[in-house]
């Protein structure tokens, strides 16, 4: 426990975490210790997410959206119905990048058209969210910003914006913002910070 606290204080004093965050971490750690569990156990009490399974993208014309994502990211369209279609990030039987487990499928986007208040699959009314996924960032192979801009221009994508030196932003046909980045843009080294980041994975 002491070592854990010392590490947090060190991070706080070196500006790595805020005062509020320090308080939150130590409160959690101390209350967990009091109940007889380790901080590690508390962190592991949830479910281990392996990957995004899919993003459910709803828009006025799912075919138009799907064609755009297919064109820009070379995605196949599978399982089309009258109201939706799936775009997997690879071919059948391929494994997701960086994943060795056999029970983790390729991530896919489902492009669909349906009213926003359509009941969920459980037939209960869908709640109105007070949060929004305002953009998604997709990792692509061998990313180079200037080359990416040329590629996008060649396929007619307009309004391409720099997202720092290591990514670009575009809008899909319905104005949804999509960031395109390489593997080097991570939670540790964001697109803006990567140039000065010590983590060079």
């Amino acid at each position: 426990m002491e070592g854990f606290v010392a590490k947090q204080v060190h991070d706080y004093q070196n500006g790595k975490i805020s005062r509020r965050r320090l308080i939150e971490i130590l409160t959690l750690a101390t209350t967990t210790a009091y109940s007889g569990k380790s901080a590690g156990a508390a962190e592991q009490s949830g479910l281990d997410v392996a990957l995004v399974n899919h993003l459910s993208y709803t828009c006025p014309d799912f075919r138009r959206a799907a064609d755009w994502y297919s064109m820009v990211f070379n995605l196949d369209q599978v399982g089309a119905t009258a109201r939706d279609v799936a775009l997997p990030f690879g071919k059948k039987d391929e494994k997701p990048y960086g994943v060795s487990a056999d029970d983790v499928p390729l991530t896919h986007i489902i492009c669909r058209t349906r009213p926003p208040d359509t009941p969920a699959s459980n037939r209960l009314p869908r709640r109105k969210a007070r949060a929004v996924i305002d953009h998604i960032a997709l990792t692509v192979a061998d990313f180079d910003r200037e080359r990416a801009k040329a590629q996008l221009a060649a396929i007619g994508v307009k309004n391409v914006r720099d997202g720092g030196p290591f990514s670009v932003y575009v809008n899909d046909p319905f104005g949804y913002e999509v960031q395109i980045a390489g593997l080097g843009v991570t939670a540790i080294c964001g697109a803006e910070a990567r140039a000065t980041c010590s983590d060079k994975r």
């Binding site: 991070d11 975490i17 509020r20 965050r21 962190e43 592991q44 949830g46 479910l47 997410v49 392996a50 995004v52 399974n53 899919h54 459910s56 993208y57 828009c59 064609d67 297919s70 064109m71 070379n74 599978v78 799936a86 775009l87 997997p88 059948k92 997701p96 990048y97 960086g98 994943v99 029970d103 983790v104 499928p105 390729l106 969920a120 699959s121 459980n122 709640r127 969210a129 949060a131 996924i133 305002d134 953009h135 998604i136 997709l138 990792t139 692509v140 007619g156 307009k158 997202g163 720092g164 319905f174 949804y176 960031q179 593997l183 843009v185 991570t186 939670a187 540790i188 964001g190 994975r201």
Partner: protein, 181 residues
């Protein structure tokens, strides 16, 4: 090739590409096809996607969302990137090796180059589904219920709401797989 051409035509019809660019693209595709490598033409024009890099999630209280995703889905917070207005939560493979992250942000916290959250957009990501490996129905349900969540859905494909009523789906590969729709 047909799909590629169809996409080009749609681009032309919608004004995304002009006539000149359309002609150049078709001519290029034809040339490559005649060389016996039509598929390569597509690959060179678009991107080879690896996966989701991150999702930017804007909500009234980023810290509350951060703590929920860390607690329920064991996402790992990156303290150095928590500035009191946003936080990065990692999951999946290692960063830089296919890993993804969720950015929880307060309104007004906008990434450089991004337009940020806008109201009234035509498109929305109405839910995100996460894969849980080694799926054990009883264990997954018990874990979620222990967090005080109202769990709905069917076996192998469950839904819960996060603190801001955002729909979060949790699934096994058996129930949610693009090739088994």
């Amino acid at each position: 090739m047909e799909r590629f051409i169809a996409a080009l035509v749609q681009g032309l019809d919608s004004g995304r590409i002009d006539r000149r660019e359309f002609c150049k693209s078709v001519a290029l595709a034809a040339a490559v096809y005649s060389a016996g490598d039509a598929a390569q033409a597509q690959v060179q024009r678009g991107f080879k996607i690896i996966g989701i890099n991150h999702m930017s999630y804007t909500c009234p209280d980023y810290a509350k969302a951060r703590d929920w995703y860390a607690s329920v889905l064991n996402m790992k917070t990156e303290a150095a990137r928590d500035d009191g207005k946003r936080a990065n939560l990692m999951f999946g493979p290692e960063p830089g090796k296919g890993g993804s992250f969720l950015v929880t942000r307060n309104p007004g916290s906008v990434a450089s180059g991004s337009a940020g959250a806008k109201a009234g957009g035509e498109a929305v990501i109405d839910h995100v589904c996460y894969t849980i490996p080694n799926w054990d129905e009883a264990r997954v349900r018990a874990t979620l219920e222990a967090k005080g969540l109202d769990v709905t859905g069917r076996d192998g494909s469950l839904h819960v709401y996060d603190p801001f009523d955002y729909d979060v789906q949790i699934a096994s590969t058996a129930e949610e797989n693009a090739f088994r729709r």
